[in-house]
Symmetry: C2
Subunit: 339 residues, 2 copies
């Protein structure tokens, strides 16, 4: 591998996604990306007795689709890298118990999607693993009650509030030739510009996204037009303009190629406040929609910058502001000459 | 690197601990390992206004000692790998915000100590980083109220219950020659033998420790006598005999060389139930006591198997049993010929 600079890794070996798998809840299945997911549940319970079990079903299902499409089994996996938003990442822990794959638990809030993918690609590139299974999940009901209010309250969404995506995404990283290549990763730093409102995570996360994107371009020497798309994870309609402005202030204009997964996954008439959020937001958009576009070649190079707000239920009550992070991964359509 | 088998990594380059740092609370400072820690606070508040801040002070202080002893600064670190027991690992997140080092958040409950060290050594061995800062923390008051009962209750300890260590440990992993070498790591699988009682984590974790230790010996072809010490993280007086019995059933007798950090850190007359637990338990014993013994050569090769119970506050109430994991790292006294 070549370490371009401290924060960006360039994978020297061609590292591929062998396959991806996605599962979503009812609202996501009715959004604009409908048809890009492997499994859509028609209720938040996902056929289970409670939401905790429902989130496990989502991750389990995303993984089973991913394995089936890759023609692989759990026993073929050297490592399982996973995380989620539940306290102590119990969704991932319980899935790891089922699949018995050596497990490295990770936590980066909603950035965990690209955190696990970056780490998985690094492990394969360096020869420490042949096949790494990466997965994340989030569930609207398990997350909203944990971070915000009891969901039974039925309170109206604050205008800046995002809506946790119900879903899970999985990917297998390998050196075996696939249709989509994992080329680089930029590991983010924790940034906190003083936003303390857990109902305004878009504003809180925008500076972290800007820092990682800025660093990525510094490290790689590229310009925004080198990408067909730069997608952020869940900045929403509130954080997106802030991100663009922060980068324009530094002389970097990504407006022509930027989209936000939180705005892609729902349509504007869905009751989701400022947009989607949660680990699954960037995961299902990347492993569902973007993977298909990259595999068919209608997108050739995409930078996915998953954003995460690193708070918990107690920290806002302690008057702490919200530390945020963003991890970026570059995905490209695999080319003939890749070796 | 040579991948001995799926679960065990052997680091081909000599990978060293540049230094370690430890900070502990009052009870740990009065235990048998007193004198092996860099900083001992005389109250659970550690000079801060609340326990959440106190845990951050412990991690902050362990890191500052570690950096100072290594003669390095935060800006010299390529990556910060950290985790803890607080919901959404907020102790680590807030320290990452302070040090601004690119951050990979990890979660493996009390196994996070060796999870971060294993991952850090892997990143350095593969050339992805020159200096990785690893840290974990736990605080008796933040953890006990989160996982068990409001601490104000003052209820008696269950006989099988462990006591969360107040402390933090940090280590810098590097290729620069140091006194202690990180040689191998065995990444654990999640094991659950059906224990559902959060007040009996020693029993729950023993099978995971046995699985990782058994796998380690299978992978490396070694025997227990090849180690001066095999230490488990926090099996306590309850889990320790179970571990030994499980391994003897498989023909592996570690009795002569086994100790448990949870039993090493407190004396039998301290009010700690079945022994110590928490991320900091294995971290401060390893980075404090064991590091010194390895550096001076009175111990030459140690296998540290940090054990983690991957539950949260809700899962026992849902009648879930407790998934557990253990990650092992081999530390050796650096030798003249290492290159």
């Amino acid at each position: 591998m070549s370490k371009v600079r401290k924060q960006t890794w360039r994978f020297d070996h061609p590292i591929y996604l062998a396959a991806t798998g996605t599962a979503v809840g009812p609202l996501e299945a009715r959004g604009p990306l409908s048809g890009n997911f492997d499994k859509a549940y028609n209720s938040l319970n996902c056929g289970e007795k409670d939401w905790i079990e429902a989130e496990r079903a989502l991750m389990r299902r995303a993984i089973s689709y991913c394995l089936a499409k890759a023609g692989k089994q759990e026993g073929d996996m050297d490592l399982f890298l996973a995380g989620d938003l539940t306290d102590q990442t119990v969704t991932s822990n319980f899935i790891a118990k089922e699949n018995r794959v050596p497990f490295i638990g990770m936590f980066g809030a909603c950035s965990t999607s690209m955190e696990t993918l970056a780490a998985g690609a690094q492990l394969v590139d360096s020869g420490y693993a042949d096949n790494v299974l990466c997965a994340v999940s989030s569930h609207n009901a398990t997350a909203e009650r944990q971070f915000r209010n009891p969901t039974e309250y039925g309170g109206p969404l604050n205008l800046t509030q995002t809506f946790t995506v119900t879903g899970a995404g999985a990917a297998i990283v390998t050196k075996e030739r696939g249709k989509v290549r994992v080329c680089e990763a930029t590991i983010g730093r924790v940034i906190d510009w003083g936003i303390g409102d857990p109902n305004n995570l878009g504003s809180a996360m925008a500076p972290a996204a800007a820092d990682t994107i800025w660093t990525h371009f510094q490290d790689t020497g590229r310009v925004p037009d080198d990408y067909d798309l730069i997608v952020t994870g869940d900045l929403s309609s509130v954080g997106t303009p802030i991100l663009k402005e922060l980068l324009i202030e530094k002389g970097l204009d990504i407006s022509n190629v930027h989209q936000d997964c939180g705005l892609m996954i729902y349509s504007s008439d869905q009751p989701v406040g400022a947009g989607g959020s949660g680990c699954a937001c960037s995961a299902v958009v990347t492993y569902g929609y973007l993977y298909k576009r990259l595999a068919e070649g209608s997108l050739k190079r995409v930078l996915v910058v998953a954003t995460g707000a690193l708070l918990n239920k107690a920290t806002p009550k302690q008057k702490d502001t919200i530390p945020c992070i963003a991890h970026g991964v570059v995905l490209e359509t695999a080319k003939e000459g890749d070796q």
